[in-house]
Amino acid sequence: MHRIDCPWCGVRDEIEFAYRGDATVKRPEAGAGVDAFYAYVYERGNPRGWHIEWWHHAAGCRQWIKVLRHTLTHEIRATAKAGDTVTAPKP
């Protein structure tokens, strides 16, 4: 069971959140070209290990937060506000 420590609300059950995917993808500059936009929209690192991802606290404070979670063990190592930086441990 994922228990996610919302930086605003404290520890809450996974059921209060909506998953919103990989938080490391960055929208390219407008003129970056088709390849950059293709990679941004479709390609994902999809690691088996630490993953920095968006969760939307939909049933709580309605904020998007960043979560550092392990995709094999489901361990959650850190959470942060949307604008904060989260770094994944070296594999």
Partner: protein, 202 residues
């Protein structure tokens, strides 16, 4: 500005019949619908400090930090999300609270009337916590949750703004009016084992 019905009519008038529900016993809870004026107040960008000052001076209340509620004799403010609060006061007339809050905060905050949109209930009594625990996933034990604390969290699968009022304990439960009937249906089931006295609406 009235948009649909001039008077907020809670769906609970139909759903919540005064009287006894469930088991007959001493350790019961009471449930009551409250007629409240509600507004959502959101700080304009970069104006959070101005808003806090305006609310303190104009409405006599300190805006609470995350997870908390502040009250004055006539008004409650509940933190609901960053830089946003739900304000709650006894209903006097259509748009009353929104008008007075708007006058107090000026351009420092955005005010949205929620009076028709949300319904307010109170669950109170020695087993109130046990009732809520059947459908609420946050820890309501006194060491973790006390009067003055508030949380937005699903209760019985319905998104709810929950705050503890006193050590009876009493909890205020604010849900979307469109879901209030389903919510009360669930709540009465949850309370049936303890016995529940529904009081006439406030």
């Amino acid at each position: 500005m009235p948009v649909s019905a001039p008077e907020p009519r809670s769906p609970l008038v139909q759903a919540l019949k005064p009287g006894r529900h469930g088991a007959v016993g001493a350790r019961q809870v009471t449930l009551r619908a409250y007629r409240r004026s509600l507004v959502q107040l959101q700080a304009r960008k970069g104006r959070a400090a101005d808003l806090a000052t305006a609310v303190r001076q104009g409405l006599g209340l300190a805006l609470p930090p995350p997870g908390r509620a502040e009250t004055s004799p006539t008004l409650a403010a509940i933190w609901i999300q960053p830089s946003a609060w739900l304000l709650c006061a006894p209903y006097l007339a259509e748009g009353d609270l929104a008008r007075s809050v708007r006058a107090a905060v000026g351009s420092a905050g955005a005010v949205v009337d929620q009076t028709h949109g949300k319904s307010v209930l109170r669950l109170s009594g020695p087993t109130a916590r046990a009732v809520l625990e059947t459908g609420c996933r946050i820890d309501l034990h006194p060491r973790a949750f006390a009067p003055g604390q508030a949380a937005a969290t699903p209760v019985g699968h319905i998104d709810c703004i929950l705050r503890q009022l006193d050590n009876a304990p009493s909890y205020e439960l604010i849900v979307a009016s469109t879901l209030a009937e389903a919510f009360v249906d669930w709540l009465l089931h949850a309370a049936a084992a303890y016995g529940c006295e529904v009081l006439p609406p406030d």
